[in-house]
């Protein structure tokens, strides 16, 4: 019975997948991995999108911040220069300035130098390129060949305002430029040039005051792409530098109005986030550069915070999910293990699940089912043992064959008669062991008739024991059918009639011998029943008493053979004999 139970034991779902894959696709793993996949699929992309958008927004903020810084610095430069130029422009619109008395001109120019000390020197040049009036706060103005200079050509000939390239004054070591405007005579015609050499010390103030974080810096490039001021440089030792050939500069200038991030190797050969603003009045560029290591620090901080938050939320979500799944998986695993154990015959298996949900109901139902199953199996086993005991202890022979004629059961009576043990005959064909050659075919034919549905059958047959003795058996065969109606087992029940057979044969022989004696003896032999009626009368009696058997059989023997006086005594003797249950006289 145990063997049968184990054969039917449950195992993890069988299929074409190997065990490792079956484990991988277990419900528990599918729930776990499904949760992880779900979290990764939903939370991570959303988080990454959020981080990406925040990252882009932060980058944009950084870019705009740089742009604002450069705009602010450029605005300061432009305002300062514009203030200087506006004074000159005012004088340029004064009709008849060139015709003013030299003293008046001197006073006007002196007013400029007193108004703003950036005016190092101011002069009026006539239409021939000669200085007619000049005022200087320190170093006198010295200009050679004014008439052929770009300044004079641009201002006087082309009647345009002029801003000269920035130079370092060799005497003062200051950055200077010359502003020049055309001035007019009383006929409102351009008749001369008003020029002012201005120092650009304010540039150093602006670049030094512009705050670009700890490591950022600002610098100014003129229209020739010369570096004219840089934060951190000393004005006394500063030298103009041509940046035209620096690869970053052209890109930066071209992208002045671009909304794209300007990340490049900056002026100081480190990767920077840069922004440039064009100062239209003088065609300069104010460039702000901040090393990306510092500019992106808030971005990276944001990224780390959001990344950490995302990781935390992911882990928390997965953890919570696992805890919930655990509430499903553990009962499920217990149920699975219990079902496997139950199917393996461990009927005492019970599931310890305390959930109040469907799994709790399932576990309770399982336990109830297991209890019922255990009870049923025990009842069946008792019944089976009872039947087996009967079979084993019964004197009758019981042999169970499968549809092929192989022995599957062989009770103790069979073992005693044949002297074969069950283990010796188990699985053997019955006709190979117990039948002689003559009866083998007959047995097979009988077997086939079973298959055809001819059962039950009663007949007498014989078995040959292990020692070769013949035992006569009276068989009663029948068949057990399966659910489809096919023969599943053939049950042969037999009674050993060998002794009876022998007794019958001996009786026949004895009767034959008695008959011979009865007919050939010279003694009169007669036989009567308890009613004294004669039932047999041999030849010697015919000769001795003169009556033939036909004449005497059926007649009272006492009346014929016992003298009348003795008949009473004989009757008494016969009654006594009958009372004493003794039949012989």
């Amino acid at each position: 019975m145990n063997k049968q139970r184990n054969d039917g034991a449950l195992s993890p779902a069988r299929g074409f997948l190997p065990d490792s894959w079956r484990r991988l696709f277990s419900i528990a793993n599918q729930l776990r991995y499904g949760l992880v996949f779900l979290v990764l699929l939903s939370l991570l992309p959303a988080g990454e999108l959020l981080i990406h958008l925040s990252f882009q927004a932060q980058l944009q903020q950084s870019r705009l911040l740089q742009k604002e810084r450069s705009l602010a610095a450029a605005g300061q430069v432009d305002n300062y220069l514009d203030d200087l130029k506006r004074k000159l422009s005012y004088l340029a619109r004064v009709k008849g300035l060139t015709n003013f008395q030299p003293q008046a001109q001197q006073s006007l120019l002196e007013g400029l130098t007193r108004h703003n000390d950036a005016y190092e020197a101011v002069a009026i040049v006539n239409r021939n390129g000669q200085i007619v009036t000049s005022v200087s706060s320190d170093v006198p103005l010295k200009l050679e060949n004014i008439a052929t200079s770009p300044l004079f050509i641009r201002v006087f000939k082309q009647q345009e305002d002029y801003v000269s390239p920035v130079e370092i004054d060799p005497q003062t070591q200051q950055l200077t430029t010359i502003l020049a405007v055309p001035i007019r005579n009383e006929q409102d015609e351009v008749d001369g040039v008003l020029l002012a050499r201005v120092n650009l010390n304010f540039l150093w103030f602006i670049v030094s005051q512009t705050n670009i974080g700890k490591s950022g810096y600002v610098y100014i490039v003129d229209e020739r792409n010369f570096l004219i001021a840089e934060k951190g440089s000393q004005p006394e030792t500063f030298q103009l530098q041509d940046l035209s050939d620096r690869p970053f500069f052209q890109t930066l200038v071209e992208s002045t109005n671009s909304a794209q991030l300007n990340v490049y190797q900056g002026l100081r050969q480190v990767e920077v986030l840069g922004a440039s603003t064009f100062v239209r009045s003088v065609n300069w560029h104010v460039v702000v550069e901040q090393p990306t290591s510092e500019a992106y620090a808030p971005v990276y901080q944001l990224l780390s915070v959001m990344g950490g938050a995302l990781v935390f939320v992911t882990i928390a979500t997965v953890g919570v999910g696992f805890l919930f799944i655990r509430q499903i998986i553990i009962p499920l695993q217990r149920l699975t293990t219990a079902a496997i154990a139950l199917s393996a015959g461990q009927l005492e298996t019970r599931v310890q699940v305390h959930s109040q949900n469907e799994l709790g109901t399932l576990a309770t139902a399982f336990n109830h089912m297991a209890v019922q199953l255990e009870g049923s199996i025990e009842a069946v086993e008792v019944e089976r043992n009872f039947v087996a005991a009967i079979l084993e202890t019964a004197g009758a022979l019981v042999v169970v064959l499968d549809p092929q004629g192989q022995i599957v059961r062989f009770n103790r009576a069979c073992e005693q008669i044949t002297h074969y043990s069950f283990s010796e005959v188990n699985g053997c064909y019955i006709w190979d062991l117990f039948l002689n050659a003559d009866s083998t075919e007959q047995a097979k034919a009988k077997f086939e008739s079973f298959q055809a549905g001819n059962f039950p059958q009663q007949y007498e047959g014989s078995w040959i024991t292990k020692e070769g003795q013949i035992r006569f058996i009276s068989w009663s065969d029948t068949a057990l059918l399966d659910e489809q109606g096919s023969v599943e087992y053939i049950v042969k029940t037999g009674i050993d009639i060998t002794e009876r057979k022998q007794a019958e044969e001996e009786l026949i022989a004895s009767e034959q011998r008695l008959s011979l004696l009865f007919h050939q003896t010279s003694l009169a032999v007669m036989e009567w029943n308890l009613d004294y009626k004669i039932v047999s009368w041999n030849l010697a009696a015919e000769k001795i008493f003169g009556y033939t058997a036909d004449e005497m059989i059926g007649h009272n023997a006492v009346k014929f053979l016992v003298p009348e006086p003795l008949q009473t005594e004989v009757d008494q003797i016969m009654r006594n004999l009958q009372k004493q249950n003794r039949w012989r006289v």
Partner: protein, 333 residues
């Protein structure tokens, strides 16, 4: 119970975190700004062509758009106005109270002068070379001598036949100056080179432009500067079919029209030129005079040479350009 309590705490913490992130104040997008009401700065533009002529008028209209964007100005545009009809168009805007009226044609000065005198509180800007009235009528123009001189230099540098040509659409003062400086640039570079120039009198007659250009080429010109809008495009395509002939384009990068045959193109930033008039007006600096813009202000530039010049030629040209930009070379007319 402990597990339940733990679960409850984890769930509550997670929900709080999610809510905190979700409800956190979003960073304001400082890039986009709400649509503001238009300012009271009213600007009008009158041109000879339509706003989508893919040429001068369209570029001026783009300048008007820049003004609208920069100052949130109220703008209006009238195109296809011939010179003789310009006075009415300009007066209409002056009567309507526009602050700045831009007349973008070399043929508009007489009309602009007349209307400017009638409306002294209105600013008028011509987009051409014009000296101004020292009051309310001024002009923004290219420092056309720079482009003329440099194209002359380049043509003289590259010619093999010692004959170069220059053709332009109309004999406006700005182009007369440009033609003169072209000749000066040629002569300064190589006195042996002969310069032929032509004023077409049209910006649209492709047949005439082509004919003039082919006549120049037939006379031996192998480098031709063409500044003639639509008419010039046809001429450019025709002459570049001739072997050994190269051109210098104008207004836009015309490399694609004849790859390898276009030495470079003079790029004009007309929209920013127009914008400058509005900037000066807004600053109160519109003084009724001529404001010139050129290489220094990046209103002019040259398209990439793409190998049409040797490194030595390119360096030499760069040096001349630098001298012109800084005024060391006199490009006065």
């Amino acid at each position: 119970m402990q597990i339940r309590s733990l679960l409850k705490q984890i769930v509550l913490t997670t929900l709080a975190l999610v809510l905190a992130i979700g409800c956190s104040r979003t960073t304001p997008d400082i890039i986009s700004s709400p649509e503001a009401d238009p300012s009271n700065f009213k600007v009008a533009l009158v041109t000879v062509g339509s706003k989508d002529d893919n040429s001068w008028s369209q570029a001026c209209f783009e300048g008007l758009t820049l003004i609208q964007d920069k100052f949130n100005a109220q703008v209006d545009f009238t195109g296809n106005i011939a010179d003789e009809d310009s006075e009415a168009a300009i007066r209409k805007y002056a009567q309507a109270g526009y602050n700045l009226i831009i007349a973008a044609s070399g043929g508009y000065p007489p009309a602009a002068e007349k209307v400017a005198k009638e409306f002294p509180r209105t600013k008028f800007a011509l987009v051409t070379t014009y000296p101004g009235n020292n009051k309310n009528l001024g002009a923004v123009a290219f420092r056309s001598g720079e482009a003329g001189y440099l194209t002359g230099t380049l043509a003289a540098m590259k010619t093999k036949t010692n004959r170069v040509g220059y053709m332009v659409g109309a004999p406006y003062p700005v182009y007369i100056e440009e033609e003169a400086l072209f000749r000066r640039g040629v002569e300064a570079t190589n006195p042996a080179v002969e310069a032929s120039t032509a004023f077409l009198g049209t910006w649209t007659d492709t047949a005439k432009a082509t004919q003039v250009a082919m006549e120049m080429v037939d006379s031996g010109v192998d480098i031709l500067v063409i500044n003639a809008d639509e008419a010039g495009l046809a001429a450019l395509k025709a002459v570049t079919q001739k072997p050994g002939v190269s051109v210098i384009g104008w207004a836009k990068d015309q490399h694609e029209l004849a790859p390898g045959k276009v030495l470079t193109s003079v790029l004009q930033d007309i929209p920013n030129l127009v914008l400058n008039a509005a900037v000066l007006t807004q600053q109160g600096r519109w003084e009724g005079k001529l404001y010139k813009f050129g290489l220094k202000e990046k209103i002019y530039d040259f398209a990439p040479f793409r190998g049409t010049l040797t490194p030595q030629e390119e360096a030499a040209f760069k040096a001349v350009r630098e001298a012109v930009t800084t005024g060391k070379i006199d490009v006065s007319p």
